[in-house]
Symmetry: C2
Subunit: 349 residues, 2 copies
């Protein structure tokens, strides 16, 4: 029996709805196993800008520092998207949160669920059995380098220190040893100096994990291979910008964005969130799929080393998939609402 | 009747084989229409390193400057790929060629051929009717920014001047007006300052092309949409690195890399090449698909404003597709060789 403090950042759009359902499942786990989860709900994103002028208010950051883990719904609002001049954006809050908490590794499992294969844009034989996990560096690279304007242009600098590459590489290699022992580094070492450093570091570390077979792919080729033959991948390791692109691309394999959870971890902090966005058009309609957020809670339980609890959550989700208790994008004929899916999974637990 | 001077750079791997076939087709066009094409064959890539120590020897560059157009096969050799320490690489030759000749726009049409839909990893209903063209900036951005090492790390700078964005944007907008009047800018304006400049410039230029509907997509979302719903795209405009990734990803739609041509153009120079690589494992086996290079010759003819000639080449390729006169990756049962496919298409012309 465990007591954990969780900062909850429902965010914008469908974020609050999917968080509500995920918290029902967490509550069910707590009842069944007798754990205590203390929730501290805070503002972040566009809603925080509207309320305080700041996408990541000091009190939110404080709550995150004090928590054992963070659950995030989604952030973002179209009113900020097509306005290059907007000085304050929801995304800044997210980037600052990642940086402040040192969440240097974003971890995204991508699995093709048999029952959903028909929903994927890819042919069944290409994706049946896909089971990969992407390790994306999250607090370095071009996201956080110096950026600005000159008299006639604009620039963004991409910098990586050796240490930034070393620490996430160890996480990725360790993950590979618990899986199929294959690691693919995705880079652009034929063009970028920073990518050549990534390759050097990974080559240096590789002998510490003799069971792991290491493969190197240029990012353009990786973007093709992800669709042509995604089964070849076990653990993918890559830098921030390439990881952003490749992991969103990989998400199409699953047949719905609404199914994919993610974890972002650092030395001490850990944040869990669905990979989908705030999907403002769907807000309040009861059509948002809560499963990605529920599986994010599952990843949180794993992080707490509550493996039975985590497996039960996954089992409950599998059951909902098998029984077709799913929101409209996956069940056109007899769709369930966000709340019904959440309750079904929580009840199972 | 026309006289044109063409620099031919067969390059490495399967490059020479596919060039040979494409030149047969060019020769057929010349016989049928009475044009004169003067060929100047030169070394570039790994073969040029082996012969001269330089992937782009001075004589090759000179020949390119003097030509009306350049035909490139493919460059690259695995012995340079996994060696981050290699000081001289084939790719450097290509990058220097692009920069020296000012080839600032890479243009890649992506079409789903009905007869090949079964070969695509994507489901038929997603790709039937796909018809897009990607405009990738080719001489700026992180490819050509300052790069180097520091005491503890490595960096690559991404810089864009307004003018670099303006000139390719006009090309892309003009292309849109001759097509379905839709332009999608792919960027990462929620994170990168250079992307915000791209958005500003495109927003400024848009009113000059009132018939064109402009759309903005973040590159991570674009990487998903490319697979989920590629039919939505008409003209895609993007910067160098994103274009490298997105255009290779888009190539899977066609069902074979062996079908896709490209043009790289500047104020005066123009280079035509298949999008596939040098595929060294296939070298000399007669299994390389020459169609991408043949269609690149088609794009060259269009560039010369020889539209009837270009259309005839496309018609000949369509006929080969219809009659299944195709290399093994597209015709497993009764495969034709590289040479047979080339001769068939040249004979038609
Ligand atoms: C919202 C945006 C800044 C963010 C990113 O690019 O990292 C998002 O796309 C993600 O992947 O979490
Ligand atoms: C070989 C490499 C430098 C090149 C690039 O990245 O531009 C290639 O991938 C391409 O797209 O032509």
């Amino acid at each position: 029996v465990l007591t954990k403090r969780i900062a909850v950042l429902p965010g914008d759009g469908i974020g609050p709805e999917v968080c509500t359902e995920a918290l029902k499942v967490l509550e069910a786990v707590s009842e069944r196993f007798g754990h205590q989860f203390e929730l501290d709900v805070q503002l972040m994103g566009a809603c925080a800008i509207d309320a305080t002028g700041d996408p990541l208010p000091e009190s939110t950051l404080q709550a995150c520092f004090e928590a054992d883990a963070i659950l995030l719904g989604a952030i973002g609002d179209p009113k900020y998207d097509n306005n290059p001049a907007a000085k304050v954006r929801p995304e800044q809050g997210l980037l600052r949160l990642r940086k402040s908490l040192g969440l240097f590794a974003n971890i995204r499992p991508v699995t093709a669920y048999d029952v959903l294969i028909e929903h994927s844009p890819l042919k069944a034989d290409r994706i049946a059995g896909v089971d990969m996990v992407i390790y994306r560096e999250l607090t370095g690279g071009i996201y956080f380098g110096e950026k600005g304007r000159t008299a006639d242009g604009a620039f963004d600098n991409c910098f990586y220190s050796k240490e930034e590459i070393v620490r996430i590489s160890h996480l990725a290699f360790k993950a590979a040893t618990t899986r199929r022992n294959k690691l693919t580094l995705v880079d652009k070492a034929n063009v970028l100096e920073s990518s050549r450093l990534w390759r050097e570091v990974v080559q240096q570390i590789a002998p510490e994990y003799p069971s792991v077979e290491v493969d190197y792919l240029f990012v353009d080729n990786a973007a093709m291979q992800m669709i042509l033959n995604p089964k070849q991948f076990d653990v993918i390791l890559t830098e921030n910008m390439f990881g952003d692109i490749i992991s969103d691309e990989a998400s199409v394999i699953a047949g719905s964005l609404g199914l994919l959870p993610s974890a972002s971890v650092g030395e001490t902090a850990a944040l869990f969130e669905p990979i989908h966005g705030s999907y403002p058009q769907a807000k309040g309609k009861g059509i948002a799929n809560p499963i990605a957020t529920i599986l994010s809670v599952g990843m949180m339980l794993e992080h707490f080393e509550l493996y039975d609890e985590a497996n039960l959550v996954k089992e409950a989700v599998d059951y909902a998939l098998k029984r077709n208790v799913l929101t409209p994008e996956l069940n056109k004929e007899k769709p369930f609402t966000t709340e019904q899916v959440g309750c079904f999974i929580a009840d199972y637990v």
